[in-house]
């Protein structure tokens, strides 16, 4: 008897797949991900962006609608709570600017904020709530695992989801339609790390990788890069976080005594590993990943242990960009990791609402690529963009985190910074602009 209920809708199933296609030609491509179709996605989407310029004034709804809701779905608890807060704060700042400038054509922006704790199921339930009950047209800020879980929901509900830090390579395939990110893929991180490790003249390097998608895949890229340049990889250890001590993981690393350790881990495990490695006699250099790129690390570890010897690699805005400098002047926490990316995210959404012909997710989705990148006028704030759009022009948003060009998977290519621990502070020592990895 268990199957009877399910059989009925079976006949309806094909409808589901064809239905979202109504919103954009891009959709069917998702159904047959056979490699080439990925490129198909980009073109129609770009096409969609163009007609927008022609009919900007044709507002489907009156401008005095009052409020338009966007969801902020970030981890406020759990391992990534720290980052979730940075993102949510930066979005809040962006919303403040937008509303101060009079809000969008669809009304002033209202945010609803929820904590995922990094949990995919919670993410789905909260997002559903935001969309169904609060009427959110976009959901911003999920971490990788949650983001992946939301892809289908985004398509079903025709709501845009965006993340400023979900680097997962999974999205390299899943993203592109309703799903965007203002950060580059993890693969770029790996490449940058690899480049840096290869350039230091080490003879041997050990890899200590926290058992997570977002750390393993870039680490594998880095490993290929490093071993490709003839450096010996003494260990490639994937460990589980949440342990009181990581002695077992460190045993062989310390025995092999490499010139450097590439540590791709969270703060909790990272700090313990660093302390235990140094206590265990390790005197070489370190390369950390984004999670450790915060000043608290110096307190937690003891600055003297890592001064001069430690480096950190993370996706970063180009600090020399005028847009970033301008942002930094307005927002005092602009230097926090992913703050510019988050600001860009909300600004893009707001501008897309201006450009679209309807005040919903489908509208945003149909224009966002064009807003982010076109032959139009370069703008870097909401107010500038809105004015140009209102006068019928096209815009090209240049974000605080970079120029923001979405590729077919809705991902931007990014730049990377290497910082060094000097006197208890992270100091820039190297910058890899996005162009570094083009070849």
């Amino acid at each position: 008897g268990d199957d009877d209920p399910d059989e009925q809708p079976a006949t309806d199933a094909p409808d589901t797949t064809s239905e979202p296609a109504a919103t954009g030609d891009a959709e069917p491509a998702d159904e047959e991900p056979d490699g080439e179709s990925a490129t198909d996605v980009a073109e129609p989407a770009d096409d969609v962006a163009e007609p927008v310029d022609e009919e900007p004034a044709e507002a489907a709804e009156p401008a005095d609608v009052g409020e338009i809701t966007v969801g902020v779905l970030v981890p406020l608890t759990g391992e990534l709570g720290e980052f979730g807060k940075i993102v949510a704060d930066a979005i809040e700042f962006g919303v403040g600017e937008i509303n101060a400038a009079g809000g969008t054509r669809c009304g002033t922006i209202r945010t609803v904020v929820a904590d995922t704790g990094g949990d995919a199921e919670t993410g789905i339930r909260e997002a559903t709530n935001m969309i169904e009950s609060e009427g959110a047209v976009a959901v911003m800020g999920p971490t990788s695992g949650v983001m992946v879980a939301l892809v289908d929901l985004a398509h079903r509900e025709e709501v845009v989801i965006m993340s400023p830090y979900a680097g997962t390579i999974n999205l390299n395939e899943l993203g592109g339609n309703f799903v965007y990110r203002t950060v580059s893929s993890d693969l770029g991180d790996g490449a940058a790390s690899g480049l840096w490790l290869s350039s230091r003249g080490y003879e041997s390097v050990a890899f200590l990788i926290q058992n997570e998608e977002s750390t393993i895949s870039p680490a594998e890229v880095a490993r290929d890069e490093v071993s490709g340049s003839g450096i010996e990889i003494t260990d490639f250890i994937v460990y589980n976080p949440g342990q009181p001590s990581y002695q077992a993981e460190l045993t062989t690393v310390l025995a092999n005594n490499p010139d450097a350790i590439f540590l791709a881990g969270g703060q909790e495990s990272g700090v313990t590993v660093i302390k235990e490695a140094v206590a265990g006699g390790f005197e070489g250099e370190w390369l950390f990943t984004a999670d450790l790129a915060v000043p608290e690390i110096f307190d937690a570890v003891g600055a003297e242990l890592i001064n001069d010897k430690a480096f950190v690699e993370f996706a970063d805005a180009d600090p020399s960009l005028p847009e970033f400098i301008a942002f930094e002047e307005r927002y005092d926490k602009a230097g926090d990791p992913f703050a510019p990316n988050s600001f860009d995210m909300i600004t893009l959404v707001a501008l897309s609402l201006e450009a679209a012909d309807s005040c919903n997710g489908a509208g945003i989705n149909s224009v966002i690529r064009g807003v982010a990148h076109s032959d139009g006028a370069e703008v870097s704030t909401f107010a500038e963009g809105r004015d140009i759009l209102a006068s019928g022009g096209a815009i090209n948003y240049e974000g605080a985190s970079g120029p923001l060009v979405f590729d077919e998977s809705g991902t931007v290519s990014g730049a990377y910074t290497i910082q060094q621990a000097i006197n208890g502070e992270w100091v820039n020592v190297e910058f890899y602009p996005a162009s570094t990895f083009d070849g």
């Binding site: 994937v238 342990q243 001590s245 077992a248 909790e268 235990e276």
Partner: protein, 286 residues
């Protein structure tokens, strides 16, 4: 040699597990249920230590003693308010209630402490080398404490009046009362003791690890593994089983990827239980 080094770190891992589990096992034995909130008590103690040490500049020893005492009292208070009124109910009800308690403590800790990492204001561990093997002062402290706690608990339970009363109450509280055991005093002693042991383990956690509010609860799985392997309610077997799990986990890293360490812990549990269906201490036949 490398293998021996793994063994050394396994012993230290095991000793931490012993410390974390022994109080849990005591509660299981006397109160008859798996007190999931035990793990959160580790957190209470760890953060109390941190707060006194890093925030108020107490010496770490003083902070530790205060934290242990505080945790013992917290444990006792929870028992009075939450567990006592539902004592007569099935163990499953108490177990789930303790999960509720864990939520409350976890949420409160999170509310008070917030995200981010915390470390004690103590120096880096000292390193000692002998016969080509390396140990740190922290590892030695953990091992020493585990040994001391195990021995004194064994002596306490077997040689002292309170200890005997605790064991009697564990088996049959009604009869114990008729044999003159003061139930409320004994229960109080048990909670103070088991929570105090959680406190001690929490101090060790603070010493070894980088604290986050989730870290303490992350230990519950291994605590369960060790407790079950020992044979629930047996305290001596906890020592053996803690060492077994610790050594197996760490030594396994010699052959298989470290990511599989938790798997090893539980594989050991499965294998042992298949041969000894009531745990290492098991006297009950299937």
């Amino acid at each position: 040699m490398l293998l021996l080094q793994f063994f050394v770190s396994g012993v230290a891992t095991g000793c931490f597990l012993i410390l974390a589990t022994i109080g849990f096992s005591l509660t299981r034995r006397v109160e008859g249920f798996l007190n999931i909130a035990h793990a959160e008590l580790l957190g209470v103690s760890a953060f109390t230590t941190w707060w006194l040490n890093s925030h108020h500049g107490w010496h770490v020893l003083a902070a530790a003693v205060a934290a242990i005492a505080f945790t013992a009292l917290v444990g006792l208070g929870i028992a009075r308010v939450v567990y006592d009124p539902i004592r007569h109910r099935e163990p499953a009800v108490l177990l789930i209630t303790s999960t509720g308690v864990a939520f409350v403590i976890g949420g409160a800790l999170h509310g008070l402490i917030g995200t981010g990492i915390r470390t004690l204001d103590i120096g880096l561990a000292q390193r000692y080398e002998a016969f080509g093997l390396r140990v740190t002062s922290h590892q030695l402290i953990v091992v020493g404490l585990a040994a001391a706690v195990s021995v004194s608990l064994a002596v306490f339970l077997n040689r002292t009046r309170t200890g005997l009363a605790i064991r009697a109450m564990a088996v049959n509280p009604e009869l114990a009362a008729s044999r003159g055991v003061n139930l409320s005093a004994t229960s109080r002693a048990t909670w103070l003791l088991s929570s105090g042991l959680a406190g001690l383990a929490g101090v060790m956690l603070a010493m070894l690890a980088t604290l986050t509010t989730d870290l303490a609860f992350a230990q519950i799985l291994q605590i369960l593994a060790v407790a079950i392997l020992a044979g629930l309610g047996s305290l001596y077997a906890v020592i053996l089983s803690g060492l077994l799990v610790g050594v197996a986990m760490d030594v396994s890293a010699y052959w298989i990827p470290a990511g599989y360490r938790p798997l090893v812990a539980f594989a050991v549990v499965i294998v042992v239980l298949l041969f000894r269906p009531a745990g290492l201490a098991g006297t009950r036949s299937a």
